[in-house]
Amino acid sequence: MVQIENLGRILEEHPFAQGLDPQLKELMVGCAANERFDAGQYLFREGQDAKKFYLIRSGSVAVEIYSAGRPPIVVESLHDGDVLGWSWLMPPNKWTFDARAVTLTRALSFDATCLTRKMESDHALGYEVLRRFVPVMAHRLHAARMQMLDLYGPAKKGK
């Protein structure tokens, strides 16, 4: 299948798949799809069911929080080589942010239902996928904390 071959190559090129056993890669490709988002198009919105995750191939995506009465606040921007979305991994499997393509974005998406099933039956795959998500999550947590510190603002007067 030409398409699967293509997807395989695409996955191969993405940092996420570095060092992944070819057999497991093949299992993943079975759940993958190639997607394209125009600038301004939403990949998903907060509160929707999280049925996928994305490996961004090119472009940039803004992760946003919306609050009534004010413009959405961008909390992080993702680019080529980044992984978007981990809400699919755990209940309640709902997106907690909006994801908006800032520029034309191409991504490889993975069907959560498909991949979850495979991960459960093939623990080696399960382990490898999770092992790749943990640093992504840790990095995101760390970055969130750093942003929370408001480092560059004028120092608050100590009491």
């Binding site: 004028p154 120092a155 608050k156 007067k157 100590g158």
Partner: protein
């Protein structure tokens, strides 16, 4: 007789009056030990009568008492309460004055003339301390004119110690009780006479006017014995303290000391090498004239390490660590000498008696 540098001679104690007069005639203000209010203090002396004849001192951690001696020795104490730092590096010193001029301002020339000091009775540890501060105020790149205006011309009539004070540990710091250089005259009090030698040409010139007689072997031996006796000190600094401390910047003992340390800063104030200062801007109410003053500061104050937002060293433990590690360890890296000369004043004048030698030992153990 004409005295050559290094050659030992003997003078009668009354000759000190001549020494003081000669120095006064040469334009020096003579600073020497006096019996002050509650302790022996450096002050202006005009004659031998101002010296603390018959006074000694008892010192231990957090305790000082002036005590009567059985004899009338003029230098029979270990060291005055505060050293000579205040004379060369005053607690308050004006750096400059400025006045508004048009849209801007003009820095005014300081017309004040620095005092010319002669230090009579300076101890070896105090001379060592001056030599340490010399390195601070002339650090290669910059030389502080305010300090050296007084220091460059200072005449030093050292008096070696006849006995060690209760908190002295100069022997282990190699900064006393004797000195081999840096003085103009060196004296040792032997009963009613002084063993004396010149360390500079101007010292020798003055010595020649003091009717010295050549020292006998007995005089020299008495001098050697006296130094040997003063070397017997109950405290000593632990060996290799510099690298040891540098390796223990994070150690539970800092918190132990912090329980006792009041961060009052007394140790830094009495330390003859502590040089830290802050600045103070003074203005008239209309804002047309301003002055900038430098005044002693202490690494024990919170403001000392203040950067916008807060102080780097908010904890007492961190402030104590800064002081002692700087003194005993980092100083060596910075200036090639230890910042501690073993005078023991920080021990004596710590209100709670924290002992730098004991804390260094505890930290090393």
């Amino acid at each position: 007789m004409s005295a050559m540098p290094g050659e030992k001679a003997v003078i009668d104690r009354e000759r000190l009056n001549d020494l003081i007069s000669i120095l006064n005639r040469q334009g020096y203000t003579v600073i020497g030990p006096t019996m002050g209010e509650g302790a022996i203090l450096y002050d202006v002396v005009t004659g031998i009568g101002d010296l603390p004849a018959g006074w000694g001192d008892e010192e231990e951690g957090g305790r000082y008492r002036p005590v009567r001696r059985s004899d009338q020795a003029l230098f029979g104490y270990s060291k005055p309460a505060q050293g000579l730092k205040g004379h060369l590096h005053p607690a308050r010193q004006r750096l400059f004055a400025a006045e508004r001029a048009g849209n801007g301002f003009r820095v005014l020339k300081d017309e004040g003339k620095a005092p010319r000091y002669a230090f009579l009775g300076a101890r070896a540890c105090e001379l060592a301390a001056m030599r340490v501060q010399d390195k601070v105020f002339d650090n290669g790149a910059y030389r502080d004119p305010h300090y050296f205006a007084k220091r460059d011309d200072a005449f030093i009539a050292l008096v070696t110690c006849a006995q060690a004070g209760g908190t002295c540990f100069c022997a282990s710091m190699n900064s006393g009780p004797d000195a081999t250089e840096g003085f103009d005259l060196k004296l040792a009090e032997l009963g009613s006479t002084f063993l004396i030698e010149a360390g500079s040409e101007r010292g020798a010139a003055i010595l020649a006017q003091l009717s010295p007689r050549p020292a006998t072997d007995a005089d020299r031996q008495a001098g050697v014995a006296q130094i040997a006796k003063a070397r017997q000190q109950s405290r000593s600094m632990v060996e290799g303290v510099g690298p040891m401390m540098a390796a223990r910047l994070e150690h539970p003992h800092w918190d132990e000391v912090a329980k006792r340390c009041m961060t009052c800063g007394n140790c830094t104030m009495v330390c003859p090498t502590c040089f830290c200062t802050t600045v103070e801007d003074v203005t008239d109410l209309a804002g047309n004239n301003a002055e900038r003053w430098r005044k002693w500061d202490s690494c024990f104050s919170v403001d000392y390490s203040y950067i916008h937002g807060g102080a780097v060293r908010s904890q007492g433990a961190a402030r104590y660590r800064q002081w002692i590690t700087h003194k005993l360890s980092h100083w060596v890296s910075q200036f090639g000498v230890s910042g501690c000369v073993g005078c023991g004043r920080c021990i004596t004048w710590c209100p709670v008696g924290i002992d730098i030698t004991a804390e260094a030992k505890a930290l090393g153990g």
